[in-house]
Amino acid sequence: MTTSLEVEGLSVDIHTPTGVLHVVRDVSFSVGSGRTLALLGESGCGKSMTAQAVAGLLDPVAEVVGGAVRLDGTDVLELDHTARRALAGPGLGVVFQDALTTLNPVQQVGAQVAEPFRIHERMGRKAARERAVELMERVGIPEPRARARAYPHQFSGGMRQRLLIAMAVALRPSVLLADEPTTALDVTVQAQIMRLLADLRAERSMALVLITHDLAVVAEQADEVAVMYAGSIVETGPVREVFDRPRHPYTRGLLSSVPAGAAKGEPLRSIEGSPPDLAAVPSGCAFRTRCPLAAEICESETPALLEVDGRAAACHFAKELTDA
């Protein structure tokens, strides 16, 4: 297995009128070809910002202040704009949550799916169109030749998501970044899309980075998981191991918040409070204000993400949790 994407010490700041927010702090992870890594976290934890930084799609108010993003061994953050586009355009595919706003409403979808071929492989209009139709067929759009002339609003939510996936995998990227790809979809359609992503990943031996807040999706789709909280990764490791024996109290709290586990009438063991405002992240361990285990050391020292037998948890009491 080769490492397709390696992110090391990535930090992103946002400049606001009231000051600088550290939205991503020293985030590291890597994904091998044919594997799926899930970036799991609640809203505002920095998972989407991480994805945008990796994809080079950050808003101008946000700025990468440190770290490296290596795509097949090359640090794309070191490259200038043109070189980055030439490398990351074909090498990294991105699927967004909201397919309706991502597609151009006044252009035929066939032309939009053909665009990557026209730009990066300098294909003619006809040939690119032909490839687009093939691709639309592959992602499960019925009657692709006729549908290529339709416009985005004539497609259902699930079909639009398929179109986005087609565009993202068009140039056979080695890494596919999917930011909440099924959140806006119905359950039965969600299952179809997840299946399509998994099939494409296996067939093209892509590395898939799945950004989501849904633990069940992670449990079913991912090989590895990185749990994010307040801009940092707090726990990472193989999904089954992390979900069966979490070593960070936040992961533990999330898992016990899922209603599926508890019986009707039995209260859910939720986490106290709500995620911190990024302008006022607690000192030391960011989770300590909501943590049942918090002690003095959590306030004074930021716990490091220490690796123990292939897993890592950023908690002063990770060892105790491991043994418990």
């Binding site: 359950v187 299952a191 179809q192 209603p259 599926a260 939720s270 986490i271 909501r290």
Partner: protein, 325 residues
């Protein structure tokens, strides 16, 4: 004894640019005192229209609603007002359902401006504090504006506002789907506590099956404007009789994947309600469909509206088409 809330044969059609969209197509429903009925379905199945109809935000074209045996649509004036008080709603979007220009206290006290004799005006401030504490906020939060609260806290304000008029029924329209998981659990716990303390009944609408399974006593599954299966929650979840319910349950991702279980993956998407299939609405996606399904609307029998209800789960798995390569 009449049910607390009972709906029969509700039909609601919307007209949009020459099309007739049948949002509700003969919906029957009942809700007992202190009970939670879960309403499950995918987008466009009519569950929100049903909620709005039960709250009299929409008037049904056909069918009846009975509340403690009384038809609220026939009420006028003071009687209507007192009915309004007894059925309240918690909305999905905690950002849109609170007027950004009112403080928490003004928002919670809003129902009392209409129902003036419910709480005497000198008691109102104290009552707001009580309600804030009841939903887990502090009395000092009363003077703050909605945008100063987090999503979960706003939803608590929405719940406090619904409780202010001391209702018998609260319709919860996706009350936790906009919230983060950890906060979602807090709100679900709060709703359960309130039901225990106040004996209020919930109509709990959600697309999240695990949430419905956790909160509901009974569940009703909707598809394209009809209730296609209903029954006690555990029974429906453990032994679904309608193929759609089985597919829905199987498609929902779960935290603990059952090894070796085959997943039913339905082909296609929900057809447009502007031009729904004849007979059984689900037949176009159903792997058990026969000719009769296209001709006859299946009646509701033993909790499922299906010509060929599933008898046991093994049969589902054996006959399901789904796991395509």
């Amino acid at each position: 004894m009449p049910e607390l809330l009972e709906a029969r044969g509700l039909v609601k059609t919307f007209r949009a640019s020459g099309h007739r969209l049948r949002a509700l197509d003969g919906v029957d429903l009942h809700l007992g005192k202190g009970e939670t009925l879960g309403l499950v379905g995918e987008s466009g199945c009519g569950k929100s229209t049903l909620a709005r109809t039960l709250l009299m935000l929409e008037r049904p074209d056909e069918g009846t609603v009975r509340f403690s045996g009384v038809d609220p649509f026939a009420l006028r004036g003071a009687e209507l007002l007192s009915w309004r008080r007894r059925v309240q709603m918690v909305f999905q979007d905690p950002f849109g359902s609170l007027n950004p220009r009112l403080t928490a206290a003004e928002l919670i006290g809003e129902p009392w401006r209409t129902h003036r004799d419910l709480v005497p005006s000198r008691r109102r401030a104290a009552r707001v504090d009580e309600l804030l504490e009841l939903v887990g906020l502090r009395a000092t939060d009363a003077r703050r504006y909605p945008q100063e609260f987090s999503g979960g806290q706003r939803q608590r304000i929405g719940i406090a506002r619904a409780l202010a008029s001391e209702p018998d029924v609260i319709v919860c329209d996706e009350p936790v789907s906009a919230l983060d998981l950890s906060v979602q659990a807090q709100v679900l716990n709060l709703l359960a506590d309130l039901q225990r303390e106040l004996g209020v009944a919930y109509l709990f609408i959600s697309h999240d099956l695990s949430v419905v399974r956790h909160v509901a006593d009974r569940v009703a599954v909707m598809y394209l404007g009809r209730v296609i299966e209903t029954g006690p929650t555990e029974e429906v979840f453990a032994r679904p009789r309608h193929p759609y319910t089985a597919a829905l349950l199987s498609a929902a991702p779960s935290l603990v994947p059952v090894e070796g279980a085959r997943e039913i993956v339905l082909t296609g998407e929900v057809p447009s309600p502007v031009d729904p299939p004849s007979g059984c609405r689900f037949r176009t996606r159903c792997w058990l469909a026969q000719d009769v399904c296209a001709q006859v609307r299946p009646p509701m029998e033993h909790g499922a509206a299906c010509h060929f209800p599933l008898v046991d789960n093994d049969a589902v798995v054996a006959s399901a088409p789904a796991n395509q390569p």
